[in-house]
């Protein structure tokens, strides 16, 4: 029998690859290897509904466990791939199993960054948020009136802040930069979320450097700031971004640079090995980028299945993202990197607005807060390669649908 396509990493990209492979009627056998105990699942609800206890675990699964058996996909969970023998086209697992592959798809994802042990990063009740296991550890501790300190004012930190306030915790967020979301959004978007969280009672502190976490009996009790101030806390969540899981690829000698380098068909520097999702680094509009998003993972996984089925396709999906915090639905389309101008489009009410990012006259991206029309029609506008003027989008009387269809 032919060697299987082996998929390393059981996340969104893997699920999407398998779904497309199956729907294209491809007969080549598949083996999925994941280092967690679960089939591929949705990560976005972890920091929201799953942390709130509103979603049972099975409902996170992208496909039910039985589905994989029905599609004759072989599964290995709780299994890590330790090495790749590219010459013999084999992988070796941490259980000592050797498996031959015809094609290899690396969907190894990314890992949440943590703090070093010497500044308290390994104390008890210091958490990171990336997996079901992370939430299952956190959730029993996240009880009303406990004090939670969140280090990092990015999307994960802010989503966790919102869920934790809803659970009745006292929440403080520390951000090193001069504003939350600085790395990913314009000041207007930061201002919106600062007001949203402050209004929900989050103590949000920007331009604050934390020097170390303080422990007592092995568990975290507080944090020391550069100013010398001590913040008491019962729990700490570290939300300072993540790093691509490239160790396996690097050890196998594949080109890596902030992710596993791939070409326009998600192929690595070894033509039998592909990479998709958070771990891949690809070329978009002349720039090497890496994206951590469901859209990118799903679309790249889908693309690899099409490529392996012989379709002549290349990756040019338009990025989109979302975040839910309290009653705010943030929807983002496009990538704002390289923008030199932002335009605010007022929304239908006080809690809605959108921020449009331009590089000169070129529309790059839109952040839409409780303003789904800006997202939906903005996406059509960007997809169609149209560039409405700043004056047009700033005017609430402008009909976005008409702009998108014109």
């Amino acid at each position: 029998m032919a060697a299987p396509i082996v998929i390393v990493g059981a996340g969104q990209a893997a699920a999407s690859f398998i779904s497309r492979h199956v729907s294209l009627g491809s007969q080549q056998p598949l083996l999925l290897i994941g280092d967690e105990a679960h089939p591929p699942y949705q990560r976005p609800p972890l920091s929201k509904k799953y942390l709130l206890g509103e979603l049972e675990r099975e409902r996170l699964f992208i496909r039910p466990l039985e589905w994989y058996a029905d599609q004759a996909v072989e599964l290995r969970f709780d299994t890590r791939v330790d090495s790749i023998d590219r010459e013999l086209k084999k992988i070796i697992t941490n259980h000592g199993e050797t498996v031959e592959y015809d094609k290899l798809l690396l969907c190894t994802g990314a890992s949440a960054r943590s703090l070093p042990a010497d500044i308290g990063g390994t104390l008890d009740r210091v958490f990171t948020l990336r997996s079901i296991a992370d939430i299952d550890k956190m959730a029993p501790e996240f009880k009303a009136d406990r004090k939670l300190l969140i280090v990092g004012g990015g999307y994960i930190g802010l989503e966790a802040a919102a869920a934790s306030r809803q659970l009745g915790l006292e929440v403080t967020v520390l951000e090193l930069a001069d504003r939350i979301l600085q790395r990913v959004a314009a000041a207007e978007t930061s201002n919106y979320f600062r007001a949203l969280h402050s209004g929900h009672g989050v103590d949000l502190r920007e331009s604050v450097r934390m020097t170390r976490l303080l422990g007592e009996g092995g568990a975290v009790r507080g944090a020391e700031l550069e100013s010398g101030e001590i913040i008491d806390t019962d729990l700490v969540l570290i939300g300072i971004g993540s790093s691509p899981n490239t160790e396996l690829a690097q050890a196998a000698g594949l080109d890596c640079d902030n992710g596993i380098r791939v070409n326009e068909i998600c192929q690595t520097s070894d033509s039998s090995i592909y990479a998709a999702g958070d771990c891949s680094n690809f070329l978009r509009n002349g720039q090497q980028i890496r994206l951590e998003s469901v859209q990118n993972a799903a679309d790249q996984g889908d693309l690899v299945a099409r490529v392996l089925a012989g379709e002549a396709v290349t990756y040019k999906a338009l990025p989109w993202f979302w975040s839910d915090q309290y009653d705010c639905k943030l929807q983002i389309v496009g990538l704002n990197q390289g923008h030199n101008q932002t335009v605010v489009r007022p929304g239908a009410n006080a809690s809605s607005m959108s921020v449009w990012y331009y590089r000169d006259a070129e529309l790059l991206a839109i952040d839409s807060m409780n303003e789904p029309k800006s997202y939906a029609f903005g996406r059509k506008i960007i997809e169609a390669g149209k560039h409405p003027t700043a004056a047009q989008v700033a005017d609430p009387a402008t009909d976005l649908k008409a702009l998108a269809m014109s």
Binding site: V294, Q295, W320, P372, Y375, A376, K380, K401
Partner: protein, 106 residues
Amino acid sequence: MANITWIMEDGSEINAEVKDGLNLMEAATANNVPHIEGECGGCLSCATCHVFVDPEWFAKTGEIDDIEDTMLEMTDVEREDNSRLSCQIVASAALDGLILRVPEPE
């Protein structure tokens, strides 16, 4: 429980008993209904779970809120009067026998 039928453009059908409380995007992906992706997990950001509801059943599937109404503008196959995003339809006894048609993008 609700017995739900998805009908594809080629006339083939998929039928499943769906537990109360599950939405019909989840039910569709669990039952391998083609063209229903549900990338955003049902939070109204992707419009990849578009269905046409059998007209006799349409009113029983509930109200379309503003966000769904807007997101229906983004579907691959253009919306019609009986379009819904199936992540917003929740299974219950009232929907037992529901028939959905699945649009196929080009």
